[in-house]
Amino acid sequence: MDRTTIDLWVGVFVALGVAALLGLAMKVGNLTSNKLGDTYSVSAAFENIGGLKPNAPVKSAGVVVGRVTDINFDSKSYEAVVTIKIDKRFEFPKDTFANIYTAGLLGEQYLGLEAGGEDDVLKNGDKITQTQDAVVLEKMISQFLYSKASETDPKTDAPASEKDSGDAKSTELGDAPF
């Protein structure tokens, strides 16, 4: 085969490969949607961050305004210190509230910011003081079951108390959660 034809075909082949890689990066990957301009860093302390991970989105009113850059454990206060970077275009008051939410029932966790009313805005290196921890599903379920058990206890206790109450109570407690 002619050398120029081979060159042409190899050129087409390489161009196809580059196009496929670019397509993967642009259309399949997050190269286009990951853009944050200049940012400033803010930290917030949480007692429990649940499943929050670095690079998780920071949202306000549902719009992505930043990303989680770093998660550390403070061994003095036994709290998780979450560092986030927020786009410089968005300014938040000093008394902004930071929550950890879950997208959907079992989805990814993200950090939600709710603006406060103060005039001073958060600057680089500031700390958000008002935080709310992540909802841990197991804790919620156990709380629910506990309140359910204490709710049903007095009702079932009343007829049981006529007879020997100690015996009936133990079986009721055993049955209550499930």
Partner: protein
């Protein structure tokens, strides 16, 4: 009676030992060929048309099989993924499933397996036949280094072609999955792409996939070259070498995939 049993046992042990030694010898000879190829690969860049010619044979000629199989793999992923995901009411996540499984695993691995079958066997048979017909010895007689003239261009052609083919495989596979999910089944167009873009990371998924395909390219091409170079100069020897290329390449790719994945996935 007892002595025949002992002799049989000794022969068994001897056989195992001989096979082990031969395997280790082949590994060493393969590594030596690899280093020689790297050392003598200056020629394949100075006379780049040699390498271009091999890229044409290993890369361009493999395009059809890669694109067609990628298309079908993507469509099957779309169908199977939808079937399972809709049970959990999250059929929009099908884009994520198709893209991640193609970019991370199926793209590099299936491409490498097809590459071993399509290009690797051709390389082994060609070099084996060159050896059988004493073309390699003739080159040596003319003071032409066969490693620089024959082996190195094929090696670099394989290493360059593999990542390109794998990237094409992933892209065409995603398009195949899209074709099944959106026009055929009726998953929402926007949700398909946006969920995919939200969870596929360029560095962690796409670049890692490219790294995998480069490693597979080196392994597949090197195995094919070594088997051809090492083949006994008979018709039977070349046929055995070609078979071994496919078997060893496939096993190596799958084993390397596990090793690379365990490096890349940090828990």
């Amino acid at each position: 009676m007892k002595s025949t049993l002992l002799i049989g046992l000794a022969n068994l042990l001897r056989g195992i030992g001989r096979r082990m030694i031969e395997r280790i010898w082949r590994l060493g000879a393969g590594a030596r060929l690899f280093f020689l190829t790297i050392i003598y690969s200056g020629e394949s860049f100075r006379r780049f048309h040699l390498t271009l010619r091999e890229i044409y044979f290993t890369g361009v000629m493999s395009l059809l099989i890669i694109i067609v199989s990628a298309f079908f793999v993507g469509m099957v992923l779309g169908l199977q993924g939808y079937n399972t995901l809709q049970k959990y009411g999250s059929s929009e996540a099908i884009g994520v499933l198709v893209a991640l499984s193609l970019v991370r695993e199926l793209g590099p691995v299936v491409t490498a397996l097809l590459f071993a079958g399509r290009a690797g066997t051709a390389i082994t048979a060609e070099i084996g036949l060159m050896k059988t017909t004493e073309q390699l010895s003739a080159m040596e007689m003319m003071a032409v280094n066969p490693i620089a003239r024959v082996v190195a261009p094929r090696f670099w052609a394989g290493v360059i072609s593999m990542p390109i083919l794998a990237a094409l495989f992933s892209m065409v596979g995603v398009l195949g999955g899209y074709l099944v999910a959106v026009p055929l089944i009726g998953v929402d167009h926007g949700a398909f792409w946006s969920q995919m873009q939200a969870s596929v990371d360029v560095r962690e998924d796409i670049i890692n996939g490219v790294i995998k395909s480069v490693v597979f390219g080196v392994a597949c091409t090197m195995i094919a070259l070594f088997e051809g170079f090492d083949a006994p100069p008979t018709a039977e020897g070349v046929s055995h070498a070609t078979t071994r290329t496919v078997v060893i390449s496939s096993l190596t790719v799958l084993a390397l995939d596990f090793v690379l994945t365990s490096f890349m996935i940090t828990v």
